[in-house]
Symmetry: C2
Subunit: 357 residues, 2 copies
DNA sequence: TTGTAAGCGTTATCAC
DNA sequence: GTGATAACGCTTACAA
């Protein structure tokens, strides 16, 4: 068990100085053919690789990106990570993952843990608790320390940074318009409480689609689920709630749900109540995950393109990091002027399956 | 935008030496009450946090764990990550994630990238291509450099390290025995090609269960899917293959599938062929993921306890890392003697749902 | 009680 | 063409 070899050891072994070794290995032409050869051969033999930590300290950059997300066991988020990892890797970066577990405190702890030199910048999606509290000081503090942040999906106006979002509003509009086009008269919405920004936007899209088609929104047709009660592990509660909803609204022709789980549950409940899908009720969900594809009937969804979101976020962040290199101290012509932040909107796409006509 | 403050800056500001600051902040009683107070107050004011990279370099340990897995968009793997992250965090470690994407080369590149000082140890699951090639030199090389590895799920005898595995064999036995107990006569197996060790073990469990019940295995009842053809995105092919299988074996009473996707697909196909589940055919899958829970009918599965696997792996790794601290150079009484490696077997559990009686 | 200096592994600058 | 030195930020023996 021999520890990794260092420049110092090579130098000693070959009886040259450390700097000679360093230069030889970087093919500096200050060093003679001969010694360069000798040193490179030796280095290869002992499989020398420069120590990343030392490089990080020297260069004051780690070449790693911190990802901070609420939850990893979630198709959408893991898809985003895959996208980030892909471009990060291609561009020579590593990826370090922190999970907030939807908790404000854990989000802060994780950020502080990573912000102390371990990473060059963040890509993150805000936890539910943070959204509820509306306390974003830790993001701004991090940015003020010179560490760039890219937010995706769950973003917030109060923080000035690059953002990548899904076009939640128009995605919802498209979905509901499709239901209308398919002849649905009474269209229900199954959504979350409003503090989750994406839920809110999708709800607004639903309303917009109705209005622009001259349909009056009926608040009885809107079911808001309080998902703080961890429906993931409490399916019965969720299904009971939806069943109740269906019973008090026997005239539902179409359902638009703001996530996959709600949509699939709605289908399940509807079928238990003897309704045929898509003949009696048509269903569209948001988020294109495994469930949608494999449900029976398979679910028509609004796809979020998670991987693309990840890729774009990573590109945005790395672009900014590498731009800093070129113009290290960006100057402002006056203190009103800010660096422009980019807000990328990823278009959604409806993937048609069996749950709609 | 003020960069993070350093000891040096604090020292300068307060007109003391760097070491005084360092000591004061670590509450060394070498330093007087007075200066300690003053320094700590100042540090707090400027929100001083020691630079992780500098600490890593000094201590020659990074307090971060490298995870290397084939794929992240997979319920099982993301569950494992969650488990790892949980205990890592609790024990003061960070987690850096690399994806091999089932590729041998990417596995190696990723390992080299991380092994150069970025992490203290690996937790990994071997890529399919590596298993196929049976080339494990990179794992052994890493271990020989003094970097501990914990392997989980897809492990291999050729590498000496701690391992955490699922009891695939007995899980399969249990599942098939359950089908037999439920009165199934002709029990089919849907599995992968043999090079994936877990698939192989589950297949062996299937055979064992049949044999111990005096049932002769019928090779016609075994369907091996070549999943190198990316069935995830090629559902039609998969379903066609399964349909063909059902048609040539009209007497199937029970199906044991080595993963969730195969099981759910089997149910889908069976129902299309007019078979009732669980009345005509009973189905059990391996891997307890989202699909199982939400399929119609919901799927009885052998649960792998991914999170527990992650937690145990992390504990194993960190235990070993911290043991190294105590006895830095472990000596061998003779060179035959090796440090004992632990192989933890996580028991499976059958989760009964609607697809079995 | 405080400060100096060495060292973790590297690279860049400057001197020989 | 080669080597000594400083620096990245920190800790710690040792000196004052």
């Amino acid at each position: 068990m021999k520890r990794k070899i260092t420049l110092k050891q090579i130098a000693k072994e070959l009886d040259v100085s450390v700097s000679t070794v360093s230069k030889a290995l970087s093919n500096s032409k200050e060093i003679s053919e001969d010694t360069t050869q000798k040193i490179q051969a030796f280095a290869k033999l002992y499989n020398y690789k420069p120590n990343n930590i030392a490089l990080s300290l020297k260069n004051r950059k780690t070449k790693t990106i911190g990802i901070l997300i609420p939850e990893i066991v979630h198709h959408f988020f893991s898809t985003v990570i895959r996208g980030i990892e892909r471009v990060a890797n291609r561009r020579g970066y590593n990826v370090i993952v922190g999970l907030s577990n939807e908790s404000f405190t854990k989000e802060i702890i994780n950020m502080e843990m990573l912000a102390n030199g371990s990473i060059d910048g963040f890509i993150l999606s805000i936890s539910k608790e943070t959204l509820l509290k509306q306390d974003y000081h830790h993001f701004n503090a991090t940015i003020n320390q010179g560490m760039p942040i890219v937010m995706f999906d769950r973003v917030v106006d109060e923080v000035d940074c690059d953002k990548v979002i899904v076009d939640d509003f128009n995605g919802a509009v498209k979905a509901v318009k499709k239901l209308i086009g398919n002849g649905c008269k009474h269209i229900a919405l199954i959504t979350t409480l409003d503090y989750v920004s994406v839920g809110k936007l999708r709800t607004q899209g639903y309303l917009e689609a109705l209005q622009s088609n001259g349909i009056e929104a009926d608040s009885n047709l809107i079911l808001k689920i309080d998902d703080s009660l961890d429906v993931e592990n409490n399916l019965d509660v969720l299904e009971a709630e939806i069943a109740q909803f269906f019973k008090s609204n026997p005239n539902i022709h179409g359902v638009f749900a703001v996530n996959e789980l709600y949509a699939v549950s709605a289908m399940k409940v509807a079928r238990k109540l003897g309704l045929k899908i898509p003949d009696d009720v048509q269903v569209i969900g948001f988020t294109d995950g495994v469930l949608s594809k494999h449900a029976t009937p398979s679910l028509t969804t609004v796809s979020q393109h998670g991987q693309k979101i990840g890729e774009q976020s990573a590109n945005l962040l790395i672009d900014r990091l590498e731009a800093e290199d070129t113009q290290p101290e960006q100057y402002f012509t006056n203190n009103e002027q800010k660096r422009d932040f980019i807000k990328l909107v990823i278009e959604t796409e409806i993937i048609e399956r069996e749950s709609t006509k």
